[in-house]
């Protein structure tokens, strides 16, 4: 199937719908992350309704598995919700559910005074969930200075030696870890120009990385980061994503399809940080 990559990604995404929301794969029950991303990608009222109906009492959105509450999608759900109480409670949840501190450890050096955000609130702060929280705060609550400073500092602390980001650590047992395209793109989407030198090094790293990491999620998030930055690599990344959609349909990974639809369509503007 040829044509506009946004239309193709959106069509595939719509076909994956599960009731009002979206699961991680077609046919699976709705979950917060794919539903929030699809709501942004498609400007979808039903997906927003599912989010509104599944917001937890504490304002968060979570995949709950027994004692484990995976709430990192709350930041994305906040971005997907329309202005109002539900969105404000989601942002409040982001602010009050930061990661756990971890003592300094020479095996994997990090600044123990920084918190950031984890995939679950009872674990350590990690790059992608911190970037999501930072994105939500930049867009929806730019007055949250302390939390934003913490998120920025964590991303600076975890930056790989040659720019860009691994999933969490920069060094393990004395060895520099390499940056990845997908995590670097996530961090850049969260930063959007904040910490200009850090941001510029990250963009340089992503320009280097993306041509060799042609998975759907990596390409889609890289394209989103390039478009938000106005980077020249946008055109090539868009063509590569279109090719991947043709070739594999991103293996029907709903999160990847939603990011592809966001990156190629108007939904990206929902994630754009206002000029400071």
């Amino acid at each position: 199937m040829r044509g506009d990559p946004h239309e193709r990604a959106a069509a595939r995404l719509i076909a994956a719908r599960s009731g009002l929301g979206f699961g991680p794969r077609p046919g699976l029950p709705p979950e917060p992350e794919p539903t929030a991303l699809a709501a942004i990608a498609l400007d979808d009222a039903d997906a927003r309704r599912w989010l509104a109906e599944n917001q937890r009492g504490d304002g968060g959105f979570a995949l709950v598995a027994g004692d484990v509450v995976s709430d990192s999608a709350t930041a994305l759900a906040a971005l997907a919700l329309p202005p109002g109480d539900a969105r404000e409670r989601a942002v409040d949840h982001v602010l009050t559910h930061r990661a756990q501190p971890l003592p300094a450890n020479p095996a994997s050096p990090h600044d123990p005074d920084l918190r950031g955000w984890g995939w679950t609130p009872d674990t350590f702060g990690w790059v992608e969930p911190t970037a999501r929280a930072l994105l939500a705060l930049h867009v929806l609550r730019p007055s949250a200075d302390t939390a934003i400073r913490d998120g920025l500092a964590l991303l600076a602390d975890r930056e790989c030696s040659a720019g860009g980001w691994n999933y969490g650590n920069r060094v393990v047992l004395g060895v520099d870890l390499p940056p990845y395209a997908q995590t670097t793109a996530a961090a850049l989407i969260g930063l959007q120009g904040a910490e200009p030198a850090l941001y510029a090094r990250g963009l340089d790293a992503l320009v280097r990385l993306w041509p060799a990491e042609r998975g759907g999620l990596s390409l889609a998030m890289a394209l989103a980061a390039f478009r938000l930055a106005g980077a020249r690599a946008e055109g090539d990344a868009r063509a590569a994503l279109a090719e991947e959609l043709d070739r594999t349909a991103l293996l029907d990974d709903v999160v990847a399809l939603a990011w592809a639809a966001i990156a190629t369509g108007p939904g990206l503007e929902t994630l754009r940080r206002a000029a400071p």
Binding site: P24, L28, D122, T123, T248, D253
Partner: protein, 352 residues
């Protein structure tokens, strides 16, 4: 080495680890709790004698389908009429490295399982480091290899989940939510790479079960498990998945700073088994390491399978003569067969 010697050595590692301070992380916590029996005896009956096969395979160009078929027959694998799920290790992809179970071995195993009469064969993995599963499976060559043998791939990070109460309690986790395709398969085959691991010492068929734990619940790289205590989580997850068969890819293994940044070791070996503890004990011995010094394996040998080398019938190649010494990081020098007690039992695991 009998069970008493195995456990005595293990206790020495625990005591030594406590003495060496920073080197005591992985052994100390687990082994100091030896008086506890944190598992349900009714679920884990005492293991009997088991059979493990060590088979030579010089390279991935060899007749792997025939070799795998012979190895599976050697350990009495019964898969006829049953659904089989192969769980290789694809934690990450980095060109030119030996991180992953080789796709050629996975494809050959698909064909061998079909020849043994399996009703279906699925390949599944939930990569621990990369969220972009498509990148890992495509770049590693697995997707093309599976296309050639017309086998489906399932992303375990995105699969339907079922609740599984834990019958072992080395961690405080009371249950795990695990992928339905793993829990519903008649036969789960753990197919690890033969590797050293910078936090756990080694990663083999039991640790490979971490890839069954969905990242969308437990984070990348399965942070909740690390936070719960890596060594303890290895045991609990291994006991929850409890793979029926194991095929360890030691054709080319990884030594040193594994599981990602180590060095390739052309060991030319495959290990087949029906008991994950016995298989891993054998693989550790083949790596020139002492299984009684690997804390997760010591704990697993208390309930999950046969850890006594004297009760493991070794088929195929002779283990002692097939040893290929895998280099370990200095902090794991204590894992080396013959090392003095207390000589480096690991480090306190970082958050990854």
């Amino acid at each position: 080495m009998d069970r008493r010697t195995f456990l005595k050595r293990a206790a020495q590692v625990g005591a030594g680890a406590a003495i060496v301070g920073a080197g005591g992380g992985i052994g100390g916590r687990l082994l100091l709790q030896r008086s506890r029996r944190p598992w349900d005896d009714s679920v884990f009956p005492p293991p009997g004698r088991v059979r493990v096969a060590v088979v030579k395979a010089a390279s991935y160009q060899a007749d792997l389908e025939g070799i795998v078929l012979a190895g599976l027959r050697e350990v009495g694998a019964e898969v006829a009429g049953r659904s089989v799920l192969l769980k290789p290790n694809l934690v990450e992809y980095d060109p030119g490295t030996a991180i992953n179970t080789d796709p050629r071995l996975v494809a050959a195993t698909v064909l061998a399982m079909r020849r043994l009469g399996a009703s279906s064969v699925t390949v599944a993995e939930g990569p621990g480091h990369r969220r972009d599963v498509q990148y890992v499976v495509a770049a590693s060559g697995l997707l093309d290899a599976l296309r050639e043998v017309e086998a489906p791939f399932v992303d375990l990070n995105a699969a339907a989940l079922v609740r599984r109460p834990l019958h072992s309690r080395f961690t405080d986790l009371r249950e795990l939510w695990l992928p339905e395709p793993v829990m519903e398969a008649d036969i789960v085959v753990s197919m690890p790479k033969m590797k050293t691991h910078h936090w756990a010492g080694v990663t083999l068929s039991i640790k490979n079960c971490f890839g069954c734990v969905p990242g969308r619940v437990y984070g990348w790289p399965k942070n909740v498990l690390h936070w719960a205590g890596l060594t303890e989580a290895v045991v609990d997850v291994g006991a929850a998945v409890r793979p029926h068969l194991q095929i360890v890819d030691g054709i080319v293994g990884m030594e040193g700073n594994g599981p990602i940044q180590g060095t390739a070791v052309p060991a030319g070996l495959l290990v087949f088994g029906t008991d994950p503890v016995a298989t891993d004990v054998t693989a550790v011995r083949l790596m020139g390491l002492d299984p009684s010094r690997v804390p997760s394996l010591v704990a697993a040998a208390r309930f999950l399978g046969q850890g006594d080398p004297d009760r493991i019938h070794q088929a195929g190649e002779d283990v002692e003569r097939s040893v290929v010494d895998f280099a370990v990081l200095p902090q794991f020098a204590g894992l080396r067969a013959g090392a003095a007690p207390g000589a480096g039992g690991g480090v306190d695991a970082g958050p990854a």
